[in-house]
Symmetry: C2
Subunit: 170 residues, 2 copies
Amino acid sequence: MLGKDYAEQDCALARALEVVGERWTLLILRDAFYGVRRFNEFHAHLDIPKAVLSDRLGALVSDGVLNRVPDPEHGGRYLYELTQSGRELWPALHALMSWGGRHRATNSRLFVHATCDAALDDDGRCSRCGHTPGPDEIVTMPREGRRSRRTDPVAIALRAPHHLLEPLDT
Amino acid sequence: MLGKDYAEQDCALARALEVVGERWTLLILRDAFYGVRRFNEFHAHLDIPKAVLSDRLGALVSDGVLNRVPDPEHGGRYLYELTQSGRELWPALHALMSWGGRHRATNSRLFVHATCDAALDDDGRCSRCGHTPGPDEIVTMPREGRRSRRTDPVAIALRAPHHLLEPLDT
DNA sequence: ACAATGAGTTCAATGACTGAACTCGATGCT
DNA sequence: AGCATCGAGTTCAGTCATTGAACTCATTGT
């Protein structure tokens, strides 16, 4: 996105969009909430050019939204994990997903409050207890009969219910 | 944004981003919530090239997020107004603004539940009654001592408290 | 020792964004 | 009536971002 800043807009939305407003960035963060942590997993699940993925991950790290940490199991590799500030993007992400699910209906996923086992409403509130859980208390799963047609390891792992933020097993 | 779609992502977020994910689009919608309705007001407040503004407004209209209606006061002119589906983007917009205000603090604005006269929290909930009002029940105003340095008519009109969705008087 | 995999970087071609100049119809002024 | 102005765009050349393919290089796996 040419000129990714909005210098003349002294507005909180413009500042937020300078961080998450570029093409692919919110999809990368969605995957991060789903538990994707490796470069190649992002690449396989997103069909994004590697150069762009590399650029976006770097920007998110320097904006403090992701952390790049050494992979304890493989020397020379790194994992990308959401920081606290990154996790606080969950409400915005969920609101956009809800809107997309309502108005551009495709296979939207279900989000469930783990401790109540009850679905979240469009405002992110648990339909049983009324609280608005953070991502660490949410389980996601495909809706009935709406499995993704993708066949990459991430898409397959996400066919089973999965706790947000927990590393995917691919 | 090259290839603005995300064809291989069968996901509600991708569908939403195909509508609101391009550069400038969410800032245009923010202005629409603030009551901006004319081409030139958008142009003056956003510092966006006219060709891009024209393209974005057209796309939002054909995506059913804005309506283009004849201006009753001026023949040959049109007004852009949020449709119902456009208004339902408010929670997503508010969530992004809250995040920007918290993590990239600049002059974020205040949003108040009109019937309670109490501020909204980061989840968009009224701090007095606990409801999550829609944009038609919200008043926005600058925070103390945080007036925008912009001098266009829209920025000036927004220095006074203003009911969302109501036409700005410029 | 050799091939394969993960995690990138480099590069040419393509497409989007920018700013300035131009158009065209509807008021507004004299 | 005639002229300038303003709103709402369109056109266009130059610049910059995105794409996809090819390349690198270190680390496993066999």
